[in-house]
Subunit: 188 residues, 2 copies
DNA sequence: ACTCATCGTGCACTGAGTGCACGATAGCCC
DNA sequence: GGGCTATCGTGCACTCAGTGCACGATGAGT
């Protein structure tokens, strides 16, 4: 991949999401995007490897946000609690972007699969961060814990009504993270 | 979608997977597949909506297998245990196909995302089956339980060395399902 | 002025996926 | 047997995604 300027990245992203929010993902071609952004087709693919990428690629600013959020977690905090708080903080910070993305995805079922990639970024970071903490957990335990948190989140985000906004999402997250840690729920 | 004959379905599937096992997914075009199967390009797309579909679409025989496996679960069995046993039985039954698929996917990283769809089919069935059982669980509890099981499975399948075969996979599944249900693992 | 890195562009090409109309075969009914 | 119909494979033309490559504009350093 060639080098990329952050301004062009934003320009393409904003043009594309704008069009897709209006017409839906499938009704917008790459040519439409490049026309709206005033760039060439080839430049588009210098920035985004595929049509979906313009929705799902990480914001260049993301690593900075993640560093900030993890730095705020106290040292001795149990991992489960920390993950709970991190996901609240992350969804709060990226709120507007998330809601916009969810609307486009919801309107175009063919995108449902790809949407997982967005979450994966978060959980990959979480995994790396958790592994760097002082803990007695084995690799397998860590993976299971992270993936269970991921499962809790994906469960509630599937039930989330986008119109309730981030507060509605947070209420569901709290409920799920509490349920999973309760001792009796697996005897169902 | 037009009507389809099971023989043609199998013919295309087998030709495609054969080629992909040899050369890798990306190096096989739809034209290669249709040439190998002795059918036309258009017929291919009458059977499979996309190139990946030939790997990931459910075997027409799958519903029968699923019905058989769930019928074998005793009525009062805790859901977690039942899911544990179901996934052992399913991976045992579909073993050869799974190993073959995993090899192709492992050799072509661009397919990693799509591979989730295969698992989704299993867990969708599991969810529907669990909802039909007599249980005091709420919808949210059921979803969380299913998705936690899914997380446990996806954790171990990511760590699975395909060359250890289905027995190796089963050992990992047993370990994970035991760990997750143990009371202390979330205090890490 | 020269050089070099950066980054946008034009073009030609491959391959995925679709809409549509046609054709071959096989069963069925009179 | 002749005509009807459902099934299912096929050929063709087309759109759009994605790539390799060479060129061009700009701007900074010397």
């Amino acid at each position: 991949m060639r080098q990329r300027s952050p301004q062009t990245w934003r320009l393409i992203r904003d043009s594309a999401v704008g069009l897709m929010a209006d017409r839906g993902f499938d009704a917008v071609s790459v040519d439409d995007i490049t026309a709206a952004a005033g760039i060439s087709r080839r430049t588009y693919f210098n920035y985004f490897a595929a049509k979906e990428s313009v929705l799902f690629d990480p914001d260049p600013d993301d690593p900075r946000l993640w560093a900030e959020l993890t730095a705020a977690r106290p040292a001795g905090e149990p991992l489960w609690t920390a993950l709970h708080q991190l996901i609240l903080a992350y969804t709060a910070a990226a709120g507007a972007e998330i809601v916009r993305q969810c609307r486009v995805i919801a309107a175009s079922p063919s995108l449902a699969v790809c949407s997982r990639e967005t979450c994966d970024r978060f959980w990959d970071c979480a995994r790396a961060w958790a592994a760097g903490r002082d803990t007695a957990a084995t690799d397998l335990q860590l993976d299971l814990l992270i993936n269970t948190a991921r499962a809790a989140f994906s469960t509630v985000s599937a039930r989330w009504d986008v119109d309730t906004g981030i507060p509605g999402l947070h209420a569901l997250i709290d409920e799920a993270f509490t349920l999973v840690i309760s001792p009796e729920w697996k005897k169902l």
